[in-house]
């Protein structure tokens, strides 16, 4: 069990060190309690669902002959807000650049950002799924949170 605990602690630390997650994720963990026992997994799952919807919308919007930059910006803004609220720092950062390209009506810049967001999103998704797996292993082995 100690081994799992160590693995979990190291993995968690790496997520913060690599800036994949920021302090906002800690806020989410602090909101999880007996009255809300699965909060983190639930809100992250919602984030995945919502992000995938937004990424589809972004791809669609950039595929138009006449790109609607206002619509594009609205979608990026949403993704920026949701990623910021769960602590997905790297996704949020790319959204900021993306919005600048929208302001400049720069399609190529936007396309590059979309690619970048997809990469960062896939990364944070995989990392969080691994984190949840490790946490489950820890709990199954008899561990309980909070883990220092």
């Amino acid at each position: 069990m100690e081994q799992i605990q160590r693995k979990l602690a190291e993995y968690t630390a790496s997520l913060y060190n690599e800036k994949i997650l920021d302090e906002q994720f800690i806020q989410l963990q602090q909101l999880q309690d007996e009255s809300n026992p699965d909060f983190v997994v639930e809100v992250v799952s919602l984030f995945f669902e919502d992000s995938e919807r937004l990424l589809n919308e972004l791809a669609k919007a950039l595929n138009q002959t006449n790109v609607d930059f206002k619509k594009l910006d609205a979608h990026v803004h949403q993704l920026k807000g949701s990623s910021s609220s769960i602590g997905a720092q790297r996704v949020q950062r790319v959204c900021i650049s993306f919005r600048n390209y929208c302001d400049d009506r720069n399609v190529e810049g936007c396309l590059k950002c979309l690619q970048q967001i997809k990469i960062e999103y896939t990364l944070v998704k995989n990392k969080l799924e691994t984190l949840f797996k490790l946490e489950k292993q820890f709990v199954d082995a008899g561990g309980s949170f909070p883990v220092v």
Binding site: L46, F47, A74, I86
Partner: protein
Amino acid sequence: MNVEKKLTTLIVDDNIVVRMVHRALLRKFGMETQEVKNGQEAVLAHHNGACFDLIMMNLDMLVMNGRQVCFYKSHVDSLIVRMTSREKEEEEKSFLDAGIDYYYPKPLTIDVVRDLVEKINGNA
């Protein structure tokens, strides 16, 4: 002060994930919450005499405008708080004149909510 009465908050944000996080943050402090997606729905939420102790607004949304903000100030007795993005801070300061009581940078955190609850109870 009546400590039995639960504080109520209206959450105004167009993103479902943000609403969920705000809901959990506010409920952690014992507040009851209601959620709407935009300024129009926020105004509608005040029909039938409903009123809120706190209104959390994301005013980067497309559907909110200054008129709707002024509606709150003249019709409701709530503390109005605006969540802003860091890049647009100068723009946001002008909203203070339009009737927002406070503005905070996103994302919303436990410390900010604690601060807001204290402000509300301080005004009670």
